[in-house]
Subunit: 333 residues, 4 copies
């Protein structure tokens, strides 16, 4: 098994999907051991830091990559298996950012209010307990919350010659900010350009569904990935995720109902591929078994998730058993 | 404990929140043993039934009630504890309905497409196994799905002199269609008119999050409720639900992000009441712990849910321990 | 010609569509000479008045009516011709209202901001010049704006047993807040209940498209209407307006694209009725000739307008020439 | 005055904003005489042509340019004055395209319907009469519609390292598809990258407000532009347009209310710059004078327009009289 290790220096951070030369060329089957900087590019470290003072909004969500996958062609499907996510620091940060967040006026939901106040929270990580510590400033509330590492941003170069900011989620994946992107899952992405050119970043030590204020418990992350390439399968269109327990589709758009509709139609397609159900039967089945946890309602596009539990379904072999194959491989590491 | 039993006859069904005389006057503390007809008013019984032929769309979601609660005044909070929900028939029904559903053109998302085809599914209930049976028509797929009874519709008379169809969810509750409305929870609703005038209906034997096609596994239900009245608490504005494990707020509006925002701001208010957190701290905490499963994306208003797990929070006593009190009472029955 | 004059006393104001007994029973062909109070129920009279202090939000948009039209049955079409609108006072008022308006957080677009400041503007009417005077407080800007009287609220009792606040626009008409509702036009509304039970109110001396802050130049109005009833025509579904120069359809929903889609599909239907165009041809023609001025982006539902200019179309006879007939009748008064 | 003439060959067409080398380097003050191919890249020429057969959806909206403006730096404002638009062919084309258009399911408003039927309309141009001819296929309707040439797409390279498809409108301008972009207006765009790198394309011989089916009367265009650069003015954020009669701001986002809100807040800012009004006074004035014709409800982002008539306002000198200056220059040509 080829193994590539990569810890980008600050001048190697990448801020877009598409538009930059690959950091590495890898073959399908490669194991990646990566490090990703946090969404704030490491600039928010104390509760007294104000995003408006220390952040450069054109340099957030730094990506590690992109990786050129040998043999990947438009129409192929890239499989990224998250073997492990381990916090690379002993603390994470979160903050309200002016004119950003689901419950704030923004450049899109443009209203006449002044921005909400800026406040920064630092979460100390307790590795033994597996928790991060929330500390309120307005009341005597300190809460140990489970540390659930995930990647906010996983994506390939977009279709149609586009280059998109690493703040954006869309069909190419990107900043989907869903807690589903966690260790043990396989993410399937449609290849749009030769080499796929995927990258990852924006590690979260923990995130609620919706990422209300726009920033999770953001933290640098040690990321272990297995990379595979699938030829000859129908292109997934929207990003798909497979875990041991669920099939997941992520749709990203606005308004939020359109993001969700995209994920639903995507899942109806997947159920059809897996079980031969026609559109109406798959629609009906989905109506009764869909889990619909929101991902984020804060990014340039909102992201909504449709999940179905494998336990309720017949045995299926998505992508010819790719997820099981990658799980087995990961177990040997 | 006062006990009221009520199985409305067909001519006693109620189709609105507000605008009708109470079926009963009850005192706080009353136990209700009710029967509710299914959302189709019992008119869809076979897979060959077509909604367009057999349904009268002005007579769907029949309500049992309304109940006038003695002493209830505007600004009070009504507490409805769902002691038990038991399917009252051995089968449930679901169907695609022309110009209805999340993935169909509707009278609002008005497009130029012909309606999707009508199809009806009948789910047989296996009481011993606790399952309902999904049977596809396009493939040889039969799936036993857990029976998870819930109420689609729980509401009081609206504010502002309005009378709303039992198809509508809004601040008064109504057709929220959330799987959170299940046995063991307490629903808190703001009283808008003297007597509160609440009713229930639209039992589901099972529903996915989002209720994609617009109809769950719809079935008649035996409903056991405990009714209490809370004086002197801040009005909840949007419906709240408390279970042994979660605090829940349901927002209903369009677009879907607005429904979710309402539930989020509602939860921030509740966290403030419970723990003294200011808006920013509650916003931050919610960002990291919110569960955001969609309720429905099909009704006149969409309904979105914000949940927080009690296990992550300090001990709280919402409404002075009302839920615990009702749980204990229910345990004595 | 029957003539009915009516100036309601304060205790005769009506706050809903549906749910109240008619003020009058009239026959088709009746001329109505009405007076309507302003949207603030006359409570905002000076620039020092603060809506939060003086308004009762359950008593805004008072309606004059409702009128029971003899012979009107569900499925019929009511034709209301606006003969004249004359300001009944020499001033109008506008104001920012906390948590209301298109560029403010509201109970639906629920954010964490404090409300925008309250400010009240009084517009003096110059009857000779036909203008109202805008006076800024933050700069030395005084502008004479044309007085263009219109009715914010024209509606019938809703379908489905509902009763809706006079703040709401929907299929029944209501608080559409469109500058199209001006002297010389005929408004066609689908009759939902026996007698139609229509009412009018919410006069504006002037309003921009979108009614950004939520309140136009609000003023009491002398209203002259001709009432007719159309039997046997296809029900219009969404409100239609005919002027000497345009056909207009008003859709009301959220998000705003759905309001507009409803008005577009409504117009495609009307073009089909008028000229025998099929859906695709009408869609194409509309694509090239639609005028799409927004009505309001502030009410419970947003209202969007689709207009087509008669000058670009073949001669048509909507409703068998009803508008021309009513124009001629009005000319004799 | 420098004059540059440019008629790109097919292999010189550009499909994005950003991401391509300039076709020309020009100085401020240059006159451009350009030719733009139609949105279909000239591939739709007969009513029997089906978009699904003849179009390559990655090669639509070909741009002429981009032009590097010497001296243009981020934060500057580019002024493009449209001196003249003359149809370059004697016919234009429009079509329904599968899964595209405001009244069709799309990849975003993802529903389960089959696509609407494809149909193509060819509009013959009568240069003498100044009309284009609509010919229905479903009825005997032929209509001479005024030819009102406009540009669908005018934009600069985006901020944040992004490259966007020429189908997209956003802050950088792009595919706004507004009838306001017509001869005699000046468009102000915020410069995001050195040289601005603007391009134009997507000529329409006529378009309704909203561009319902997604394609106007699309036609090749001879375009005459004057280019100027403004230093030291506040960046406009969203595209602004000035005509002899109106100030216009175009917002582009989803849902449609957010596009409109962006245009409204943009106009409030402009009114503040022009007249010193504070936010509340500008909000109030806009409420009474805004014209809000929709631009398109079909693109990747929807575009909404806020216009205010100069006739109602005090004399103003936007950008130090730039529009008047360019009008005068154009008059000398």
């Amino acid at each position: 098994m080829d193994v590539v290790e990569y810890r980008p220096e600050r001048d190697q951070y990448v801020w877009t999907f598409g538009g930059v030369a690959p950091s590495h060329r890898i073959t399908p089957g490669t194991l990646l051991r990566l490090w990703t900087e946090d969404a704030f590019s490491g600039r928010l470290t104390r509760v007294t830091d104000r995003p408006g003072d220390v952040l450069d909004m054109t340099e957030v969500n730094p990506q590690t990559g992109p990786f050129y996958v040998e043999g990947a062609e438009p129409g192929d499907t890239l499989a990224l298996h998250i073997v492990d996510l381990t916090p690379a620091r002993d603390w994470g940060a979160s903050s309200t950012i002016p004119f950003f967040g689901a419950l704030s006026t923004t450049d899109r939901t443009a209203l006449l209010h002044d921005p909400l106040p800026e406040r920064t929270w630092i979460y100390q990580l307790d590795r033994a307990a597996g928790t991060v510590l929330f500390e309120a400033t307005s009341a005597d509330v300190r809460l140990e919350l489970p540390c659930n590492p995930m990647l906010g941003t996983v994506g390939v170069a977009p279709a149609g010659r586009e280059v998109r900011s690493s703040l954006v989620p869309d069909m190419f994946g990107g900043n989907m900010d869903t807690p589903e992107m966690k260790p043990g899952v396989t993410c399937y992405l449609q290849v749009n350009v030769e080499g796929a050119l995927f990258s990852v970043g924006d590690g979260h030590y923990r995130q609620g569904e919706g990422e209300s204020c726009g920033t999770a418990v953001e933290g640098a992350m040690d990321v272990t990935l297995l990379v595979e390439l699938i030829k000859g399968a129908p292109a997934p269109l929207w990003p798909r995720i497979e875990s041991d327990t669920h099939y997941v589709v992520v749709g990203s758009s606005r308004p939020l109902e359109d993001a969700w509709r995209a994920s639903q139609v995507g899942m109806i397609g997947w159920l059809g591929e897996l079980y031969g159900l026609d559109r109406l039967d798959a629609y009906q089945l989905l109506t009764q078994i869909s889990e619909s946890p929101l991902a984020n309602v804060v990014d340039t596009n909102y992201s909504a998730v449709t999940k179905v539990p494998k336990a309720l379904l017949p045995a299926g072999r998505a992508y010819n058993g790719m997820h099981t194959h990658l799980r087995e491989q990961a177990a040997t590491l």
